[in-house]
Symmetry: C2
Subunit: 142 residues, 2 copies
DNA sequence: CTAAACCTTATAGTAACTATAAGGTCAAGT
DNA sequence: ACTTGACCTTATAGTTACTATAAGGTTTAG
């Protein structure tokens, strides 16, 4: 039997996060010692290790809860996990593409800004470009 | 003079977001009509357009507030903006690298999962791999 | 005996909003 | 005149996954 502090150390999850997981029912309410301290056993450690690792893989707590619910009902969660993973992968790919587009846009604006004056009114400087974008200002003869 | 609904339509920012921006003092409290409806003028439209665009570039509201504060005090914000941009760019690059690492890890787990059985106990299936990672399970003879 | 290092609960704060409730105002239609 | 619907108002709760704080009880070491 380990205390919440020991569980925290063994898993690298903060004690507040552990209590939070209990509150949202991701972890079962543990037994209490006479002094009302929480007491955890090996299966609790294992469950929390799974949660920790799934969080590192950016699974949402709701997804993790569903995965654990399968197991709690003696059903293999693997199929569900595979689906969540596939979704995660495409979500990440989309997010990366978005971020790269954003990065390119910022880098272009930044380069443009290096050649521009400071301007309180923001009509002639990089601040203005933020609002309008580059297209109708730079490299666009019309 | 335009109403909050019209401002919303002209900028693509929701009315709730506009009220929220007012609340956190990103936008000044506008004049009110006799019926206490908010009334906005051209400079409000312009300011909100700047905010919108900066948000699309993923600037934090706090950064945007600082940029606008420069202008409100008749100082050119450009230097500050350039710094924020440079920070944004490296933050994004880091985030992209993190996400790509994550994506690779998930993709590898997913591929491994395709060849594994379903397992309630999660000792022999992809769910187990989530907890332990691949290294000591797959492609590792020892 | 007291100070530190634990533990407990409850509550507020984070970011950037969205959603909801409960109500006031206004223009158009019957 | 009245009602319907589309606006507007404020205030509050919910989102995500926690962290931080307050205010207190317990245990251990010196």
């Amino acid at each position: 039997m380990v205390s919440i502090g020991e569980l925290s150390q063994q898993t690298g999850v903060s004690t507040q996060a552990i209590r939070y997981y209990e509150q949202i029912k991701l972890l079962p309410a543990p037994k209490r010692a006479d002094n009302s301290y929480r007491e955890y056993d090996d299966s609790d450690v294992e469950r929390l290790q799974f949660v920790k690792r799934a969080r590192q893989l950016d699974f949402a707590l709701g997804d993790i809860a569903e995965i654990l619910a399968f197991r709690d009902q003696n059903e293999p969660p693997c199929q569900y996990v595979m689906n969540v993973m596939a979704q995660q992968i495409s979500a990440i790919e989309e997010r990366v593409a978005d971020l790269q587009r954003l990065r390119d846009e910022l880098a272009t604006l930044h380069r443009a800004g290096l050649t521009m004056p400071e301007d309180i009114e923001m009509k002639q400087c990089v601040c203005h470009l933020i609002k309008t974008g580059l297209s109708n200002e730079v490299g666009n003869d019309e």
